[in-house]
Amino acid sequence: MFTLPALTSDVGVNVNTSAKLTGTSRRPLEPVGKFFLQHATRTLRNHTWSEFEKIQAEENVKNVEESNVDPDELLFDIELADETLLHHDARDWKTADLYAAMGLSKLRYNATENQIIKAHRKQVVKYHPDKQSAAGVGLEQDAFFKIIQKAFETLTDKTKRMQYDSCDFVADVEPPKKGSEYDFFEAWGPVFESEARFSKKTPAPQLGDMETEKKDVESFYSFWHRFDSWRTFEFLDEDVPDDSSNRDHKRYIERKNKAARDKKKTADNSRLVKLVERAMNEDPRIKMFKEEEKKEKERKKWEREAGARAEAEAKAKAEAEAKAKAETEAAAAASAKADKKKSKEAAKAAKKKNKRAVRNAGKDNDYFGDADQAATIDEQLGLIVDSFDDEQLVDVAAKIKANASESKAILQESAKAMIDSGKLPASLLSYFA
């Protein structure tokens, strides 16, 4: 370690300005190695030392990040999950939590073979009797190490691991208590996830959420209704004694084990059926789907009845229309009748007026200067008027009205027409002929 002399006199910064670095030489560097390349970068880019150090530090950080620790290690238990395991009787290893002993209490049935091997190595390094004795623990206290070894043996054998996983009740997730308040998906998701580990068919469908489509929900429940489980209960078997002792006893135990296994299996199956039934009953989606179905049904019914309804409506409409039509028609007829009468009366009045006009033509025009013949004129005028048809009457009346002075000529003309047509004999119309 370097040391420095103590400061005896008061020296601040005292630079010997007269001193110079002894002459320097210019030599080639060997252009090899990373330090040279760093030097080259520094020179070419004109980096200062602090910039260079910063860049180096950044690179180092990058390197460290890239070479980070084994991701598996992070999943292992840092400390023993269950301290009581340390004092567990090695002969009772079956009752110990083997995953916890391996430091895999977080992974359990999810642990891969590689992770098991790694975890085992880690535990062995820590709990090997040699290591433990070095730490002051007696060499004979190797029960936990034996359990670790048993756990490794069990978990690395495919069949044995299957049997152990079947009876790994710690990994079971209890369904939510009835009557308590819970979110369906939060509470049941893990339950189904843990049950799915026994599925022969993989992957098992997910519970999903409120947005899951009906088809998926239905296939989820049909999967669980027809669940094919590999769960076995051999791990809980009573130990079969060596066949050398007593063959009958051995067979008896075996039979007993088998019966117990079958019983457990049946119980487990019925448990699962009940579980699925309950989940289905509680599933808000199922309720939602049922309601939707009901609504749909109603809607369908409504649609189905639409034809008849339209028909009735059309009929009513037609009836109403007919009725309205009849009414209007009646009203029209009535009014037409009245009109006719009126016009008739008007025509009659007009005729009367015209007749009067023509009849009075002589009188009005001072009998055309022939006042002496007034009686004849009036009589003959009466004849003419009576012989006129309606048209002639209107025509003549209009002419007379328009041109009263010419009335004699007009009347003569009409008298002539009347004589010519033979309506009246000329004798009767002596004045006008």
């Binding site: 370690m1 370097f2 040391t3 420095l4 002399p5 103590a6 400061l7 005896t8 008061d10 020296v11 601040g12 910064v13 005292n14 630079v15 010997n16 300005t17 001193a19 110079k20 670095l21 002894t22 002459g23 320097t24 030489s25 210019r26 030599r27 080639p28 560097l29 060997e30 252009p31 090899v32 190695g33 990373k34 330090f35 040279f36 390349l37 030097h39 080259a40 970068t41 520094r42 020179t43 070419l44 030392w49």
Partner: protein
């Protein structure tokens, strides 16, 4: 990953190829015959071309068509080449002013090969071996060359390589490559001076390399083109020939083929003796129908070749003298090349150097077990480094402004609590440089005196008893004479500055910084409070 860049060590006697395997380790690639040190030999029998160990065997039966020791000739005019090296194989002749070989390809057909063509073919075989091993095509290589290769030679080598589809991305010097491989494997972090001695088959090279902050500077180099493992073989062959003549009254020296047989077996014996203390040699019908069988122990061999071994040692001395350094200035001797396997070489060097010098040979646990592969490994490591850079960046990095840097002549350091000078920046440190030292126990008011220092060697005469604690040595030198012990010390030559650092709480970090304008800046920073005291020269 695109195709990897491989490192090639191309030697006169043997070549090695290395690459960085996907596990990020250096792999020295064996050729299909399983040789990791692939003999640089090409041999032609009729239409067939043999390479490596297979070609080497042809040296006995078919020496006229077997090309050996051609590396040094590349890019050189014929007049400058010492063609006597090829005496054992195909004779070298002048072709277009260069060295060439005339090879018979059967049925009276002859092929004239210039050395460039031979090198191309050799590199191609190496390339094929590497591709075979890696399973990817290879287009880029880093190749090692001796420090005395001229620009013309580099160019010729580049051209020979490009002819077989190899782009040489960088030439690196053999000693630097070897040192790089060593440093990579055995982390040398402190600054030191290292002699890299490469004893090959036909030539020896040594260089003194200063490592300063991880950067290498070659201080000096020496080459001996006539010293190498072959000299050991010659001694051994001579010994066997004498022995054979004595036993059978028949002289194998008269017959080139006998000599070739003897030499090839002597080489095997020599290699065995590196690992075992005795070895046998047996040759059927060595000369005049006589078989030869004998065994030799390591001691006999070492005595026989003692002259050559002392040449090796003095060769290393030459390079240190040439640098102007003392043995005490050397921190280690790194042995590379095939001869380094010989235990005698290490023990001779241990005898020569003071204990402070580490002999980094295969016998040392802190050194590679395969000194002949160091160079190739270094090339591969360099290849890994430059794989991240594109060609332009590399070209920039090779600019003289980057490569040629200023180096300090004298050490800069401070005086510690005992009044001793402690060097921080050693001589030959290239700058700009920055170095930090931490005084973790510093406390109170302190004086930081910055000086230039110089090393000197102090000789002391010790009484024999004091050596006895070193049992190994006491056996060797059981003489009663007083022992002279040399020690390296520093003395201050010029005071540069004094910094009074006041009220240090706990820990002080001192930064020595020399920028490119030769300005020395010393900064003392209190680790606890962050208070800074600065001085600039």
């Amino acid at each position: 990953m695109s195709s990897p860049i491989i490192g090639i060590h191309f030697g006169n006697t043997s070549s090695s190829i290395a690459y960085i395997n996907p596990k990020n380790d250096v792999d020295v690639i064996a050729n299909p015959d399983g040789e990791r040190a692939i003999p640089s030999v090409l041999s032609y029998v009729g239409e067939d071309e043999y390479h490596g160990g297979q070609a080497l065997q042809q040296l006995i039966r078919n020496p006229k068509n077997t090309i050996v020791n051609f590396r040094d000739f590349i890019g050189l005019p014929f007049a400058e080449c010492d063609v006597s090296k090829c005496a054992n194989g195909a004779p070298a002749i002048e072709l277009d002013g260069k060295v060439g070989f005339v090879i018979s390809r059967g049925e009276g057909k002859e092929e004239q090969l210039t050395v460039d063509e031979v090198v191309s073919r050799h590199l191609n075989r190496l390339k094929l071996a590497a591709e075979d091993y890696i399973g990817q095509t290879i287009a880029k290589v880093v190749i090692t060359i001796p420090t005395n290769f001229s620009a013309d030679q580099k160019l010729a080598l580049s051209e020979a390589a490009s002819k077989v589809g190899l782009q040489i991305v960088q030439f690196i010097n053999e000693p630097s490559a070897a040192l790089l491989a060593h440093v990579e494997q055995f982390n040398i972090e402190k600054d030191c001076n290292i002699v890299v001695a490469d004893f090959g088959g036909v030539r020896s090279d040594a260089a003194v390399i200063a490592i300063r902050n991880g950067m290498f500077t070659i201080l000096s180099t020496v080459h001996d083109l006539n010293l190498g493992g072959d000299n050991l073989d010659t001694e051994l062959v001579e010994y066997f020939a004498k022995d054979f003549e004595k036993k059978t009254k028949s002289n194998p020296r008269n017959n080139a083929r006998s000599m070739a047989k003897l030499r090839s077996n002597a080489i095997l014996t020599k290699k065995t003796l590196s690992n075992a203390t005795s070895a046998t040699i047996s040759i059927d019908s060595l000369a005049d129908g006589f078989d030869y069988h004998t065994s030799i122990n390591r001691m006999r061999y070492e005595l026989t070749a003692n002259k050559v071994f002392s040449q090796f040692v003095s060769f290393i001395n030459t390079v240190i003298e040439k640098t102007g350094l003392d043995n005490l200035d050397i921190d280690a001797v790194l042995l590379a090349g095939g001869v380094s396997f010989t235990p005698k070489l290490t023990s001779n060097l241990e005898f020569l150097f003071p204990e402070s010098v580490e002999i980094l040979g295969p016998q040392n646990k802190d050194a590679s077990n395969y000194p002949n592969e160091l160079s190739a490994s270094g090339a591969a490591l360099q290849a890994r480094l430059i794989a991240d850079y594109d060609d332009d960046e590399l070209k920039d990095a090779a600019q003289p402004v980057v490569v040629n840097t200023l180096h300090l002549q004298k050490a800069i350091g401070f005086v510690d609590g005992n009044g001793e000078f402690v060097p921080v920046l050693l001589p030959e440190t290239s700058y700009p440089v920055q170095k930090k030292i931490t005084f973790s126990n510093a406390q109170g008011d302190l004086l930081l005196g910055v000086y230039e220092g110089k090393s000197y060697v102090e000789e002391k005469t010790l009484e024999p008893e004091q050596r006895e604690e070193d049992e190994e040595d006491s056996e060797e030198w059981s003489d009663e004479e007083p022992e002279t012990v040399r020690e390296k010390h520093y003395k201050t030559t010029a005071k540069l500055m004094e910094l009074g650092v006041k009220d240090v709480k706990k820990g002080l970090e001192v930064t020595f910084n020399v920028n490119k304008d030769s300005v020395l800046r010393v900064t003392a920073r209190d680790l606890k409070t962050g208070a800074v005291t600065k001085g600039e020269l």
